[in-house]
């Protein structure tokens, strides 16, 4: 290990932290408890609720806010806490109201139009001044297929192969304008140098897209792509992650399981074609922390009882869960990183505002605070790529940018 940050101490100087927000929180009863223990469900669909989370996460030093989403239709019982806003639209609203945190919505690829997906993420990058990310997801249920009525449900392996095509289209559309395409050249009357715009002419088995994008190349050019994997993810998802993901989230029940997933990823990274640096790798963790009012264990008992009373399924055990104090969580970060080569963690708070506040109070002070880092105080603030130390990529369509046939071939 030659990374100076990792040699410097037991924990966390280079620690990367992402927060994933899913409604009131990852516990199924999170939206059923009134404050201070839970979230008032009538506020969940307001901008104020998500903005409060985003600003608190930014202040607590998180690098990235992931906004969970799905196109699954609402199911009985229809309660305020089961409403779900479009994540990209929420991320856009947060753009002008936050400063340094990355904003990565889940955007699905199965029933959506690849052209819209690509252009909307570019637009998010514009309105957040370079802080957009993207977590692709697929829609595998019959209920989602019936909501669109355009195609039949398909197994995840096929859907992730399609997702790879959507990623391929997005990456090409994002480069379909060169940075200096807008010239505003009055003597010739030309606003644009059209030789710097490129048709992408993507033709896959499932769809074709001509291009170019209607949106100019965005501040980051290529918003980072985050892909989450576990041992049930199909090979097509793993290959896509190895080829295209900037951030990989590994989900397993404990450090040993995640070490196995990391080894699988490393094998693929050694063989799959890839542009740019290796991905940053995070482990997924559910977190439920002590608060001033109750211990984490007491809170968990109350939440479980509430879920049981409402007939809700309890959270799956396939993801590691930390139930305890903030100091214990900081120690767990070190323990995991001693066992697995990880850049950091993606945390899923059980009750989002409560556990985020507990994190800020008990864990943030134990970590070198990135908000104090000079690069985050610069004006303009760094982009999400800057924050992770990834250069703004050269344009694949610019003369002089090397491309290889392997890199252009779609994932199969």
């Amino acid at each position: 290990m030659t990374d100076p940050d990792r040699q410097a101490g037991p924990a966390v100087r280079s620690l990367r932290l992402a927060l994933e927000l899913s409604g009131a929180g990852s516990h199924p009863a999170a939206g059923r408890h009134q404050a201070p223990a839970g979230v008032d469900p009538s506020t969940l669909l307001s901008l104020g609720y998500t903005l409060g989370i985003a600003q608190a996460a930014e202040a607590a030093g998180f690098d990235l806010l992931v906004l969970d989403d799905s196109l699954a239709p609402a199911d009985e019982p229809l309660e305020a806490s089961s409403g779900r806003l479009d994540a990209l639209t929420v991320a856009a609203a947060l753009g002008p109201l936050t400063r340094t945190i990355g904003l990565a919505p889940v955007v699905t690829t199965t029933h959506t139009e690849p052209f819209h997906v690509a252009k909307n993420l570019q637009s998010l990058d514009w309105v957040s001044r370079g802080r957009a990310g993207w977590k692709p997801a697929v829609s595998s249920t019959a209920a989602e297929a019936r909501a669109f009525g355009r195609k039949d449900p398909a197994p995840p392996a096929e859907l992730w192969a399609e997702a790879a095509d959507v990623v391929a289209v997005a990456r090409r559309l994002w480069d379909s304008w060169e940075d200096d395409a807008i010239i505003r050249h009055a003597p010739t009357g030309r606003f644009l140098d059209r030789t710097k715009l490129h048709y992408i002419d993507f033709a896959g088995e499932r769809f074709s897209v001509r291009g170019p994008s209607i949106t100019p190349r965005s501040p980051q050019a290529q918003p980072p792509i985050l892909i989450e994997l576990d041992d049930s993810a199909p090979a097509t998802a793993w290959r896509l992650a190895a080829r295209e993901a900037d951030l990989v989230v590994l989900r397993g029940p404990d450090p040993d399981a995640v070490r196995g997933l990391r080894a699988d990823l490393d094998r693929l990274l050694a063989t799959e074609p890839r542009r740019g640096p290796a991905p940053a790798v995070l482990a997924a963790l559910h977190v439920l922390l002590d608060t001033a009012e109750a211990t984490a264990a007491e809170r968990l008992r109350a939440l479980d009882a509430s879920a049981e009373a409402a007939g809700l399924a309890l959270p799956p055990t396939a993801t590691a869960t930390h139930v305890g104090s903030g100091a214990e969580l900081a120690a767990a970060f070190s323990r995991w990183r001693a066992a697995v080569d990880l850049d950091g963690f993606l945390l899923r708070p059980a009750v989002a505002p409560v556990d985020l506040a507990a994190f800020a109070a008990a864990v943030t002070p134990l970590l070198p605070h990135p908000a104090l880092h000079p690069t985050l105080q610069a004006d303009p603030p760094p982009t999400l790529r800057d924050r992770f130390g990834w250069a703004r990529p050269a344009n694949r369509f610019s003369p002089g940018t090397a491309t290889t046939a392997t890199l252009e071939s779609p994932v199969r």
């Binding site: 856009a92 753009g95 109201l97 304008w177 209607i214 949106t215």
Partner: protein, 443 residues
């Protein structure tokens, strides 16, 4: 002392159109700013909000326009997604309606209903959707479904699409949406409860028979091209006259034509500014391109400051030469003959002729004169208000808000405060099924 009672005047509604990607928008002016940076959108939106405008409007085009087989490079090109920008504006504005154009051809009702409901929640009831139909296979090359939609069924699909979005917006109260229609086969409950406005405000812009019927049946606002007094009155009477067939009252629809404004310190000053703007809008190269759209052939060898070509148009070429823009004429040969006669009679060069034939109704004059023109048109039912299309990004409405809005307020025809929290309040259009309930009183 009680105030003297004045008759209540018909109230004017105003919208701000973010400068677009056609020749109305001048990019060569030194004060022209970015068409893509968020700061430009915020400036125009805040200006409109300061002027108590009903709404801020974004257009859409899902493929870059092409001319003679190449991307058209003479106008502004490139813009972000409308809903994404409007959502970004939701948190930096408080009352302004946020209107986005989205195609019914290249979207699906379940997903689009969800995006607009999300915008309505995030903005506290300020979302509006301008539904357009885009049948061309040229645009379809960017989408999964391609360009299969025949022209004559595009309004059928649009009507079915709007019906389905409404059903999804209602679905938490009325149950799952299970419908099989000519264009759709869906079965689902939406992901969201009823949004603050019930249904976001529906805007429509069609001008054909089918488009006018669609507007009369579904629209809360029509964004028309008829900004003049006479054509405005004819259009207004025609569309509002169609509403009874759909069981609707005329005041449930606001007709807001696109309009441009040029202000001056005197009438002569305003005219001089208008002439200068027209010269900026029609560059020498832009004049030749406009002529090529009618002639259907390469005219780049012609001098824009010289006479019109003697040769006749190529009718087939004219239909195909420009892609991604609505063609405004049907017979190139007769149009070319009219233009040649006009140019000969008035001794006009190519550029002068194009300036003359593409100049649209504009409110032009001192702030008081412009306020009089707008007020007269609205009081005489030529419109319910206007969506103003500035020629400059992002400062194009600064003067209007500072100088014309107070004049309109002085005339008693324009609000001096917000009507309520939602866009429905500003427009005065209740949700058809969810009008405010009267407060129950005892005894």
């Amino acid at each position: 002392m009680s105030q003297p009672r004045t008759p209540i005047r018909k109230q004017i509604h105003l919208g701000a159109h973010f400068p677009g990607v056609n020749s109305t928008t001048v990019w060569s002016d030194p004060t022209s700013g970015s068409q893509i940076e968020l700061s430009s959108f915020i400036h125009l939106a805040r200006t409109a909000e300061q002027g108590l405008f009903d709404l801020f409007f974004l257009a859409e085009g899902l493929r870059l326009r092409e001319h003679r087989g190449q991307i058209f490079d003479l106008d502004v090109v490139g813009r972000p997604d409308a809903i994404t920008v409007l959502s970004a504006l939701a948190g930096v504005t408080e009352h302004l309606g946020l209107a986005g154009t989205c195609s019914t051809t290249y979207n699906e009702p379940y997903e689009l209903a969800r995006q607009f409901a999300s915008l309505d929640f995030l903005s506290g009831g300020r979302a509006a959707w301008n539904a357009v139909t885009s049948p061309d296979s040229f645009t379809g090359e960017n989408f999964r479904r391609g360009g299969y939609l025949p022209n004559d069924v595009r309004y059928e699909r649009a009507a079915e699409f709007i019906e389905l979005t409404r059903a999804f917006w209602d679905s938490w109260d009325t149950g799952p949406v299970r419908r099989t229609t000519a264009h759709f086969d869906v079965d689902a409950t939406g992901t969201l409860p009823r949004c603050p406005q019930g249904w976001p405000i529906q805007i429509q812009a069609g001008d054909s028979e089918g488009g006018r019927d669609l507007g009369a049946a579904y629209a809360d606002v029509i964004f028309s091209r008829h900004a003049g007094y006479d054509d405005g009155r004819a259009y207004y009477a025609d569309v509002k006259g169609r509403m009874a067939r759909f069981g609707r009252q005329p005041d449930q629809l606001k007709i807001m034509p696109a309009a441009t404004v040029v202000l001056g310190d005197s009438e002569a000053d305003a005219r001089e500014r208008a002439r200068h703007i027209r010269l900026q809008q029609v560059s020498p190269q832009g004049a030749i391109a406009s002529l090529e759209q009618v002639w259907g052939r390469d005219l780049s060898a012609y001098d824009p400051d010289g006479p019109l070509p003697d040769l006749d148009p190529d009718e087939a070429g004219s239909a195909a030469i420009t892609q991604g823009r609505v063609r405004q004429h049907s017979n190139s040969r007769s149009l070319a003959e009219r233009w040649r006669a006009m140019a000969e009679a008035e001794d006009l060069s190519i550029r002068e002729l194009i300036i003359k034939v593409t100049t649209r109704a504009t409110f032009c004059g001192t702030p008081a004169q412009v306020a009089d023109q707008i007020d007269r048109n609205v009081q005489d039912d030529a419109a319910d208000g206007y969506i103003l299309v500035p020629h400059l990004t992002p400062h194009g409405l600064d003067d209007f808000v500072a100088r014309v809005v107070p004049e309109l307020q002085d005339r008693g025809s324009y609000r001096t405060d917000w009507e309520g929290p939602t866009l429905r309040h500003q427009l005065g259009i209740d949700h058809p099924h969810h009008a405010p309930q009267p407060v129950a009183t005892a005894g």
